[in-house]
Symmetry: C3
Subunit: 182 residues, 3 copies
């Protein structure tokens, strides 16, 4: 991203502030999911936001999306120690739109493994990684800050969905998105 | 975080530099813990810094905090392959104070699992996640840069401590910190 | 990193843009490895780039480095659900050079564990962490943006290689890189 000489100082600072605001938005996803923060989740999606978890697992609109964390099974997962863990995201901003590609782990305490101790760090059954996947977040700038218009999540298990999300992060344009070797 | 029009260019650049300095501070925690870097750890806490790991596990003052990594059991954990792994942090800055909320995994090589090979990536017994938890870092600006005044860490196992830390990250003000669904 | 008063606004914005460009560069590593994106990988190394994975496992030049992901075993790993997972990196920039220190997990679906369900999040055999290690990325500024001149990766298993990488991240100068307690 060599700096465009034509950009003003204001443009450049704004682009940087956008980036940092987006980092915080993405960083707020695990805390919102792991505490079931319905009203917060509603506040970060656009009215017509879409959550696409693959197949039939989708929710349309910020109301429906935010209600997922109020379901009894989600509350049960939180009581069991649900943890979403976000890696370093890749961010591209184009004016009032942005795309973020990020890895996510979904973890929970292992229910049945043997206790093992790490010296000085206590003994535990440890945590299981239930799922690892790729997120594609399509964001839009609104008067109330950056919001999520669409989040797609696909499990990394060799299937095309996750690979397509990851390839798109590397492509300067759609025509470059084709994989070299898979 | 819509930009406040009243802020000067200097204010805005300073806020951005603060944010990036804080990212590096948080990113230095795993290397300091995993190498037992006592003098470095001492340098990033305030004189009266507090480390609160829950229950009776706390250390008062940068001297006491930094000595934890010099204990024989910590050295033994390092020899075994101790790894602290930090996720994307959530950062809010308010003048000369900042709060960072971050997820952390504590890992070590599995001592007894079967060797499994990932093609092209070698065989290993793999790593165990001993613990997953939430950190709340309370930082202050000092003439020597941002330093840690208080770090609280709680394991994500369904207990209130970790949930409270995560909820606070989402709350614009303390009165908003109440959970909707748990 | 207290701000140097002598720096111009241009210098400071440039340094910030460098940092954000570098975050994206590091964030693009997992997607490139997990999709086998040979041409992309070639584009982010310098002509004489070096990949040093320890011992005899090294590749000289961007051509050789990028070909690793085209090997049959790497393609097989991708089909099995290979996932590189990057933690928050530590970045230091010095003019046209930069050093990034980052943790990396290498994951894959567990081939044989029992299915366990996390309520509301599906059942799975879970993922295994095949390896956890430390990266040292030595970057240089080029007319086409920041590129990788050398990447060293060492497994965190108590051996010196990874500890040395992590210690260097904390050292303001080479003479400070000596460990206090290991």
């Amino acid at each position: 991203m060599p700096t465009d000489a034509a950009k003003t100082i204001e443009d450049r600072i704004r682009a940087i502030e956008d980036r940092l605001e987006i980092y915080n938005l993405i960083a707020s996803h695990p805390p919102s999911a792991d505490t079931g923060a319905q009203s917060y989740i509603q506040s970060i999606y656009t009215e017509d936001g879409l959550l696409d978890l693959g197949g039939a697992k989708r929710a349309d609109g910020k109301q429906a999306i935010s209600q997922i964390v109020t379901r009894p099974e989600h509350t049960q997962a939180i009581k069991g120690g649900l943890a979403h863990f976000a890696g370093l995201p890749h961010v591209t901003i184009d004016g009032d739109r942005a795309v973020v590609t990020s890895y996510l782990q979904i973890l929970a305490p292992h229910p049945s493994a043997d206790d093992i101790e790490v010296p000085g760090h206590g003994a535990s059954r440890g945590y299981r990684i239930n799922r690892v996947g790729a997120n594609r977040w399509e964001l839009v700038r609104t008067p109330q800050g950056w919001k999520i218009k669409r989040r797609a999540f696909r499990t990394l298990d060799g299937s095309q969905g996750a690979l397509d999300i990851l390839r798109q992060a590397l492509a300067p344009s759609p025509s470059d998105a084709k994989p070299a070797t898979v």
